[in-house]
């Protein structure tokens, strides 16, 4: 399957072409390049998915294929940084997700970004992002993953700050970059620990189940916690940064400053699930050597999910509601992984892993749809604020229907895709701990509530006065909506258990009837509640807000987490750490370097006589030099 290399390289090529062309191309041509490259690689990744799932199964277990492997930098016999392509069920699944969503976003942007300054730059950055994300998921080793991980961070930074003349966009891009970079520090230290003890970066070796690789970690611990827990915990911090887990979630809502299609691609479907992917990629290691970390991941996921869902209930900016909803849903995926085991088809140990990957897949589709739908609404009314909308269902029928489908999917209504994947996560969670299961069911209810609050506020309720009548989006924007909606409707019936599982062997899904019924009832109740409150203009929401003004205010202000960060950085770190370091830097390090300069200049001036231009003097110095060396050799 060598052609998978093309899937990775074509977006790079289109980035180079678009990037080097220096805005000389007509916007249409630039867009056509972006879309056609994405079209080709989407097709290629579908072909590769078919080929892989049909042909590369041996005795019921999917193979791990490495169609490309280059040793890049060699440190010693064991440790070398490689570049390559690793194909297994999760990377194939990610290829499909990334190329599909990216293609949709590329098509959608043709219209959405029309007439923007830097249209070509936008497409170049989209290609760069797609390339980096694809390189990340097919990485054969953790170091390659780290390289692409950072590239993804850079391209996300560039895209969030696309409107670089807008101060809030610049601030948001910096915030996203710094927060995730800070988390990546943990990731890097984790990688160094891991490679120090195991002498390898390679995923296939790490995941091979060979206990001798981890032999040197036995009995090593620091502060009472085993070294493998430290390592895998640190690696998870990197994942938590990218996937916006509490308390590193603060960058994601601000990242909504970027163009909306970018939010759909990066901050809903692909980059933010990189952390989930990372845990899934190293799942065997987590499961065997750091099960405690896995449980911590489950609890962090559950807490983040709850926390974000509560905030989402009171936000008024529609993109921010979607951002918090994304954080909450990624929490679901993390919980799924955290409670999972490997294999054991009778006891359903591997259910969580499978469900988490399934949810990743379905969520990518319907969340991209929600964002693109929101973009379509924003395009029509030129505002992000809910109270500038209302009653739009008459003007935008396609957006209305597709948005509704996505809302039903995320709320978990049968037969939409979210129902299946979320229910499996809930079933796995109940198996692990009934309390956690109940919490997650409650969050699922909240999800249904805030999504329908959003839906009714946009498309129903009192009509807001518009400067000009809102209109349905043109075909290039409507097509991605319809396509993604179609995927959302049918994706639930994919035989996911046969395709992507923890031990790569087939897994038969049984829906737990009790869990399914209960969660549908909760979802329907929440939707009804939302309908009662928001379908018609009513006083109830305002009354509730005044009654519970304390919690309402805290949730509106996102529980002041940003303020806590600012307090810690500005008051504590800047004053106690940065100021002394700055003094040291200025007065010791800079001064030393400057003095090297001064001394150099001075000596340089003093010694210029040696370069007189007289060849006899040159010979003289030559001879004296020779004699001095000889004398030193002979007598010293």
């Amino acid at each position: 399957m060598q052609y998978t290399l093309l899937i990775i390289l074509l977006p790079l090529l289109s980035f180079i072409v678009l990037g080097l062309m220096d805005s000389k191309l007509k916007p249409k041509v630039a867009g056509a390049i972006g879309v056609s490259v994405l079209g080709i690689i989407t097709l290629l990744s579908y072909i590769s998915a078919f080929e892989y799932f049909y042909l590369h199964k041996i005795e019921g277990v999917y193979e791990k294929l490495v169609p490309l492997h280059i040793e890049w930098i060699r440190f010693n016999e064991f440790l070398h940084i490689d570049l390559g392509i690793l194909l297994d069920p999760i990377s194939i699944m990610m290829l499909v997700v990334i190329t599909t969503v990216s293609l949709m976003v590329n098509i959608y942007s043709l219209e959405y970004m029309k007439g923007e300054k830097g249209f070509q730059r936008y497409y170049a950055f989209l290609s760069l992002f797609t390339f980096s994300m694809l390189g990340l998921v097919v990485a054969t080793n953790i170091f390659q993953m780290y390289i692409f991980w950072e590239l993804v961070g850079v391209s996300s930074y560039l895209l969030i700050g696309f409107y670089y003349t807008k101060p809030s966009a610049v601030a948001a891009s910096k915030k996203a970059f710094i927060v995730t970079r800070f988390a990546d520090l943990g990731f890097l230290i984790g990688i160094l620990f891991l490679s120090f003890y195991t002498k390898t970066f390679d995923f296939n070796i790490l995941n091979s189940g060979d206990a001798s690789i981890f032999a040197s970690t036995a009995g090593v611990s620091f502060m009472g916690i085993s070294v493998m827990s430290w390592t895998m915990g640190l690696i998870f911090i990197g994942g938590a940064g990218k996937s916006a887990m509490f308390p590193l979630h603060i960058w994601l809502p601000d990242a909504m400053e970027g163009p909306t299609p970018v939010s759909a691609l990066i901050h809903a479907a692909t980059m933010v699930v990189a952390g989930v992917f990372l845990v899934a990629r190293l799942f065997p290691v987590y499961h065997t050597y750091a099960p405690d970390v896995l449980h911590v991941i489950a609890y962090i996921g559950a807490f983040t999910s709850l926390f974000a869902a509560v905030i989402a209930c009171v936000q008024t900016d529609i993109k921010r509601v979607l951002a918090f909803s994304t954080i909450s849903q990624i929490g679901f995926m993390m919980v799924g992984l955290g409670v999972s085991g490997i294999g054991g088809h009778e006891g359903h140990e591997g259910l969580g892993y499978m469900a988490s990957m399934f949810h990743l897949f379905t969520h990518a589709m319907f969340k991209a749809l929600l964002f693109l739908g929101a973009g379509s609404v924003i395009h029509a009314v030129h505002s992000n604020e809910m109270n500038h909308m209302g009653g739009l269902r008459k003007y935008m029928p396609i957006t209305n229907i597709t948005f509704l489908i996505a809302c039903l999917a995320i709320a978990g209504i049968f037969p939409f895709s979210g129902f299946f994947s979320k229910d499996e996560i809930l079933a796995a969670t109940f198996q692990f701990s009934p309390y956690l299961g109940a919490t997650m069911s409650f969050i699922a209810g909240l999800t249904a509530f805030y999504m329908f609050r959003l839906y009714f506020n946009i498309f129903w309720g009192k009509e807001h006065k518009h400067e000009h009548t809102p209109h349905e989006s043109p075909f290039t924007m409507a097509f991605p909506l319809v396509f993604l909606a179609a995927v959302t409707v049918v994706a639930g019936f994919l035989p996911f258990g046969k395709l992507v599982t923890a031990d790569r062997s087939e897994y038969i899904i049984h829906l737990d009837p009790i869990v399914a019924t209960v969660s549908i009832i909760i979802a329907v109740l929440s939707i009804t509640l939302a309908a009662l409150m928001y379908m018609k203009e009513k006083e109830t929401p305002k009354q509730l807000a005044t009654t519970f003004s304390g919690i309402f205010k805290m949730a509106s202000n996102r529980f002041y987490i940003d303020e806590v960060y600012i307090f810690i950085t500005k008051k504590i770190i800047f004053n106690l750490v940065s100021t002394p370091i700055a003094w040291f830097d200025r007065n010791v390090i800079d001064a030393t370097i400057n003095n090297i300069g001064v001394v150099t200049q001075w000596t340089s001036h003093k010694t210029k006589r040696f370069q007189s231009g007289q060849v006899q003097q040159y010979a003289y110095v030559f001879l004296v030099g020779t004699l001095i060396i000889a004398a030193i050799m002979l007598f010293v």
């Binding site: 340089s604 231009g613 030099g625 060396i629």
Partner: protein
Amino acid sequence: MAYSSFLQMNEEFSLLIVMISLLVFDIFATEKSMRYFQPLALVLFTLHTVINCIPRDAFEVAGGMFHYVPMQTYVKTILNIGTLIILLQAHQYLNDEANRIKKGEFYFLTLSTLLGMYFMISAGNFLMFFIGLETASIPMSTLVAFNKTDHKAAEAGAKYILSAVFASSISLFGMSLIYGTTGTLYFNEIATVFTGTSLQMMAFVFFVVGLFFKISLVPFHLWTPDVYEGSQTNITSYLSVISKGAAVFVLFTLLVKVFPKIITEWQHILYGLAVLSITVANLFAIRQQNLKRFLAFSSISQAGYILLAIISGTALGMASLVYFVLVYMFSNLAVFGVLSVIEQRTKKVLMSDYNGLYQTNPKLSIVMMIALFSLAGIPPFAGFFSKFFIFSAAVQQGFYVLVFIALLNTIISLFYYLLVIKAMFIDVNDAPIEKLESDFPAKISFVICTLGILIVGLISSFYNQIAVFSFGI
């Protein structure tokens, strides 16, 4: 004696054939057909480079006078590519009205020096080595004085030949002492009997300073700036890259092959010279206004860095040395190429002339910037990796202080390389150099150099390939 064994000297014979064909063509060609001289020369030389780039098994010719090991193929190929780039850059110069009739000479002389270096590199005996050395340096002095009517060039030629003869004579004196104390001139035989008595030590020092002269280490460097400044720019680049590259390789092999018993002694010498060369050259480079003199000092300090690879005396050192020379060649030739394009058309070589170059000639400025960054050792350009490998070779043998001094000096060197970049990109100029159009061959040379700087560092197979043969030295 089997004469057919001579035929194994592929590289030398093929170069000789190129030279003689060009000479014959030059003599018999009509005025009109001389147009085809340069294309023919470039094609022949490229062909020669390509057919000789695959390493073969080691062999000896003439009872060990000529001793081939696979690594030499890489070194010779690097020299070939460098020479090719220089020939491309000199294309325009040789087409000038004044130099048109001297085309043939230029090629013949350049390739003669290259042939001399081939023999020097593959020598297995001091006589062969000396013949190679002289074959390389006598045509070199004529090349330095190639613009013979130009006062500065003539002066540079005289200085070069006088200094070279002086160095050769001291070196020859050392060789005679070596012969006197060991009774042989064969490298492998000397290695076994050379124990480092007082007389032998003196012989060694006298001999080795000849090579130090070639590499222009402090204090044997004083000729360098004057000669670099006086000679035509393409010749200067030839001196600073090809001639130097061959000499450092020979120095390494000689020290390791012939004088392994006095390794601690020569390590001491190299230690001192490395510190001196890097530091003194950096000090002088800062003050230079003439860019050719500036590059002369920069190349002296680069030579000092190369000593860090030689001082290790290990296979890693060998690999890092050859790699360094490869990268240094691309970077330095890119800088010299820009210099020569500008000098040819405007006669300007001062740093202040380059103020605001980016405004008028962005492409040339960017090539120059990339090359200077590479020389300064800034990632991700190849120069970073080559310095990295050299430092790791020295650290591996425990030369921590030396590496620290070298690192300090990289700061200074960064400062003066940035001076040029600042001039080009930041400083304003009322009358900057007008917009120039480089000729096609020069453009090709820039593409080769830039690609080299960008790719050789990032694609590790270059280094790994070199490292494969470094054990056989």
